[in-house]
Symmetry: D2
Subunit: 286 residues, 4 copies
């Protein structure tokens, strides 16, 4: 499930019919591409087919010509596909509030190269985490929320997204509910971390809800956002055992590690083009 740094990634999805896999592999073979990783999944309930291949670059590779040919090859199958170059780093915008554990973790993983992304900026509705952003040399956008000011604030958020060219937005414990309008604009390209094992404990203060219920496990869920709060397609979930001696604040503390690990895993899958949307669910080829 690791990714070599010098391979191209080809992802595709289409209705499942005879010949889909072969259409891809035959073309890669003709073009002299050595496939070092290949997965496919045929969802027999939804009838969708998902393919992901990594391949080494052949001599005399011409990306434009490759794409042109591939387009011809895959058209009969109604395949939507995407090609990602080896050195390609996705532009990612982070959004945070006051809690810094996910931010600290994501920046650390980017710094050591575990998450291959370019963090093009950090937006926050609070001023607290600016020093952390500055130390990593990342642009900081303080966009406070005024009473009745959500439309205006979100307009500025969209402005930052557009100006930075961000391809992915990560809500790394951003404690504001996005408007349906903004959610829609970010459909499929914004990942949120919710601090419960969804669908349990939606909404506010999930650790306090978990305490009241007396659960023996707490968890975190990384998911794409959509217009229903905490309801978008799930990418990754993590869990930890707890017991009666954990008060709500202990669950909060315990949850930090799970949130970091779960969000980092989801972002990694997205960056490596392993996540496919399949209705309200995800397919993750790893």
């Amino acid at each position: 499930m690791s990714r070599a740094t010098d391979t191209w990634i080809l992802t595709a999805q289409c209705p499942g019919v005879l010949g889909t896999v072969n259409a891809v592999t035959a073309y890669l073979y003709e073009q002299g591409c050595y496939v070092c990783e290949h997965q496919s999944f045929d969802d027999r309930l939804s009838g969708n087919y998902f393919i992901r291949a990594e391949f080494g670059q052949p001599d005399h590779f011409n990306e434009a010509a490759f794409c042109e040919g591939l387009s011809q090859q895959l058209k009969p199958y109604g395949m939507r596909w995407e090609l990602t170059a080896p050195a390609r780093r996705m532009k990612v915008l982070l959004m945070v509030s006051k809690a810094d554990h996910c931010l600290n973790d994501l920046l650390y993983r980017q710094r050591i190269g575990q998450l291959r992304m370019d963090v093009v900026g950090i937006i926050s509705n609070h001023p607290d985490l600016e020093p952390l952003a500055r130390w990593h040399g990342i642009d900081w956008h303080y966009l406070p929320m005024q009473p009745d000011g959500k439309p205006e604030q979100e307009r500025k958020v969209m402005q930052v997204i557009e100006q930075t060219g961000a391809e992915l937005v990560v809500l790394a414990r951003y404690m504001q509910v996005l408007s349906a309008d903004l959610c829609k604009k970010l459909d499929g390209r914004a990942i949120n971390i919710h601090h419960s094992l969804l669908p349990g404990f939606k909404g506010a203060k999930p650790y306090h809800q978990a305490y009241e219920k007396g659960v023996k496990m707490v968890g975190a869920t990384a998911h794409y956002i959509n217009d229903d709060l905490d309801e978008g397609p799930i990418i990754a979930q993590g869990v930890e055992p707890v017991d009666h001696s954990h008060y709500p604040e202990d669950l909060v503390a315990k949850g930090r590690d799970i949130e970091c690990l779960t969000l980092a895993r989801a972002v990694g899958y997205h960056l490596e083009r392993r996540v496919f949307l399949n209705g309200s669910r995800t397919v993750i080829l790893k």
Copy 2:
């Protein structure tokens, strides 16, 4: 967390005030009881105090006199307590429907001595599992559910419980919703296994619900029953990672192991007197 086979168990709970622990340990010391395991928990939110001690039997031990003295000692603290003899095996009644994995697992654990209980009977609303019961030499009660016959069937269930002297009822995938009346009668002495990580996916077909939601974890919850379906105090929860390739029937298959392990753990805690009710939550001293 293991239990020696030759120790007495003393459990107690009361409002948390100064001197509660000492009241117990001082008495045990006076009586010459060697305490080999001792836990206590002070719930600073509910204000309740929980104590569990295991001790070796001293020479010239007289249970009645011990209890009489202990009663005197603990009265000022409003302590409810229970003493369990070393060789004591709880009488347990199992209730099942068609799925046999939990039954098979519990009977196996009883047979090898891991769960120290006497299974005094098995009730089922289906005839399928009789051979398994017979092979283990356990009384089999086939109590089918007739249309509109729940009151009558449950009357017979209570009759078996009374005749066998069952102290604990284990719903080992018994696929009937008990009436509020029966639930009330079994309050605190019936354990159910629900095949989801509650509070997620209450009610029917939780694995199918989990599939629809696209979760990346499935789980099971063992809990005491109360009058709200799937809402009683949780004793144990287990979880397993899953992915997009698991169809509902795969989740069912995967879940069997978690259900067995989770239910067995909960029953073990109960048999070893480790579970205390604390409002709608449990305290488990292990």
Copy 3:
């Protein structure tokens, strides 16, 4: 990772060169085979390539002709391959001693159809588990070990293997060290469960060794046997947290669940043709 019951499985391995995947997928396409699951792995350190595909049977399918053509197609790549029919159930021989937890677990999984195998017999060097075998209606072979009688006993073991046509031998807590000669004969077709997380605690009484060392985790390892004790290629490992309160006998008890789950998982991988030998390691396509 589930397996549909009506699909053919094609597995293949060869040196990793351009065109390997395509050779397989192109042939399947030509033959009208709908590929519903396909994985491949290119080991860039060993230079080996591994392929596993499941496909639905096309109309007018002729197995012999299919194999003949495939053989032609794959010859240039030096590919070793195997085709497994949908209804095909592997013949499995179990070997046990006195502990019955793995046996009970495997027979249960076979009975409910989770492990699709035909258990063609059970060999034991002790008489204890005969009733369990009989209840499941399986042939029982009591082959006790006489002093200096290992060659003779193993000769009889091989005789049973041959007479039953067993394709896989599972050492489900068989507490005898097999001779190098027998190991060699069973190379790649015998799975053992060792009750530690190898390479830690090889040899006898691993839970006692684990206790002495004071570890905080115990585990189990399912592996193919080879001629070096506890050193064959690992298929699956499982682990459980423990603490200071677990005496050796508690580790033994705790370990039973992990052993069952780990062995069942390994056997399942083998039955579904997911395991490939790759030098002293395994590749598991799931």
Copy 4:
């Protein structure tokens, strides 16, 4: 297992005889101390008894007088004990080389108050991590290793330990083998993180060893150092599943999270006085 911030901690250990628990609880009661957490463990194999209690400070509490009286009370039992004040923060010295994941993680947990310690300095044999130390405002000691210079370097290490008054030394991926002499001086007060599940894969490059062996789990072990490399009493272990697709560098990457979590857990136990040495093993009361 959480720790309130306003409680005293009393830990004690002694040979297991009748009255040990009572000696402690009776004294706490007499002194008006409200015990909010209490654990004890009687090791029936080693014959040692371990006690840990947290209690709220009573009115008019005099620490010196309390200790004097306790000393009298516990003397007959040969009890070694320690009292820790609520606001007490242990002085901790960190030692690192080039890898910064554990350092980053520990400093983060200290910064947010999850690990209540005063980091009094960081020693390194490489200059790389100085900026990280500086950003956290912590004294940096660059003590490079010259050829044949270990005695001199270790003399300087001891000098820093003494000057800072460090009570605990944490080897947070310090990639130098300490001399037997230094190990001895730090006996019981230095914690190391080894990147394997000991006793598997001792020594250098454990992830590469794990790759060669083809294990399906990798882990990390936090332990006290003693004079035998990687052999001191184990405090905590963590583990993660891996598969054939993880090359050695992937295991290294995967292992970072487990190392951080395992080391942080062990340091937390130590800071909260939960760890007791019991021969070559540890008892952890939580």
